[in-house]
Symmetry: C2
Subunit: 247 residues, 2 copies
């Protein structure tokens, strides 16, 4: 692929441009986009014209730039996540209604928790997770449940890459993993909001390894954690079955 | 941007590659991807390596290619559609529960109806709409409701570009538009499944122009169409208000 004088390809630059937007920055000025993507401003203007003509980016009324609807369309209409979402959605609605707290569906991706879907409830406890947002594995019930039900080589690889962090934050890692597997769910006190606890149950494939995780955030010291966990596990099994029936 | 000998840019090729996947073709062999994207096979292999290294595309176990999770993440975490979805979701769940049929949220994009979100119900009537899928304006209640509540210049532009089609299929277009505006909703007999009828109510901005449309598909000859329409209009107004409060 043709490279710029600085040696990075068009695709490197495109990914940096798209990566400059996030939930807190859905709209950027051209200068701030050029700055965040580390692209010379003159080059940025030229790229922008082409990206806008394909509707991968769009200009809003103020002249700022946002992601284009065509990008959303291309990325979503055959997404791997779509089957998972379709299978999970009715069960997520059940959990959302019955437990009355925000409900998330997430996967393990590039050593982080990637949120695929989220249903909110008015009056739920604070929850920082956004759709397509990421959370750290080692500080969330989602991450710990995903890890505990991963294939041995996935767990091993993760530990290799994050040895110091995990030794410092999870000194009894093996015992923790064993307990999560025994319980069929993980719980973890909120690291952003200490008043909350996350509970997470894995969605498993036929070999018993995780495909995704279903989770809720409940008020801390909730005496209902055990019954919440049981409801989550029930819903997660329903999703596993719905996915199996589909494939 | 650097062009290939054939004159199309890297971005043209990238868009054609992403456009080769859809709900019916979420996974493609490299040859069939090269064929669909109209890219020489040797070039395709080279592009593929770079696209896979960025996780914009991913190889599955069989060696076939799918969209990568990173593409989904980049396209979704700051999508314009996210605010609309967040505001609409609780109301869509209400409609989905109370009416008991598939419920869609859609926008007008490039002269077509683009489905942003869909909630399904077990036992609902057949409905071909998929998330990020497109439907024709002139044959859906969604499209006709979106058009009726568009700014005059949008309606005019649409008619200019689709003059013959609209003359043939909607000979009384002006009267139809006036009726939809008077009723506050559109209904249209299903064009894929003639046993169904779609009903759609617009989500409006403060000036009374459409931002999106909320719709359900109900069995044809349903004597509940009027009450369904009233429920839809109620939910659509709730979404408009939730969006307004946010901006």
């Amino acid at each position: 692929m043709a490279n710029s004088p600085s040696g990075d390809s068009m695709l490197d630059r495109l990914v940096r441009i798209l990566d400059s937007f996030d939930a807190n920055n859905p709209s950027l000025s051209v200068s701030s986009l050029a700055h965040r993507a580390d692209i010379p401003k003159a080059t940025m203007y030229r790229l922008l014209d082409e990206l806008v003509s394909h509707d991968l980016l769009a200009r809003d009324n103020s002249g700022n730039v946002r992601l284009g609807l065509r990008l959303w369309e291309l990325a979503n209409r055959s997404a791997t996540t779509q089957d998972l979402r379709t299978a999970a959605m009715p069960f997520m609605e059940d959990i959302n209604q019955l437990i009355g707290q925000n409900t998330q569906l997430s996967v393990l991706h590039q050593d982080e928790v990637l949120i695929i879907e989220r249903l909110s409830r008015p009056g739920s406890v604070v929850n920082q997770a956004n759709v397509a947002g990421r959370m750290p594995v080692h500080r969330t019930s989602m991450g710990m449940a995903l890890l505990a039900f991963s294939r041995p080589e996935v767990i091993h690889g993760f530990l290799e890459r994050h040895r110091e962090l995990m030794a410092a934050t999870h000194p009894n890692f093996r015992a923790e993993m064993a307990e999560i597997r025994r319980n069929g769910f993980a719980s973890f006190d909120g690291f952003i909001d200490p008043e909350t606890t996350g509970a997470a149950a894995p969605i498993l494939d036929e070999s018993g390894y995780q495909i995704a995780v279903l989770s809720v955030v409940v008020p801390r010291e909730s005496d209902t954690l055990q019954s919440v966990a049981l409801a989550l596990r029930t819903a997660a099994r329903g999703i596993s079955r719905a996915l199996g029936a589909r494939s």
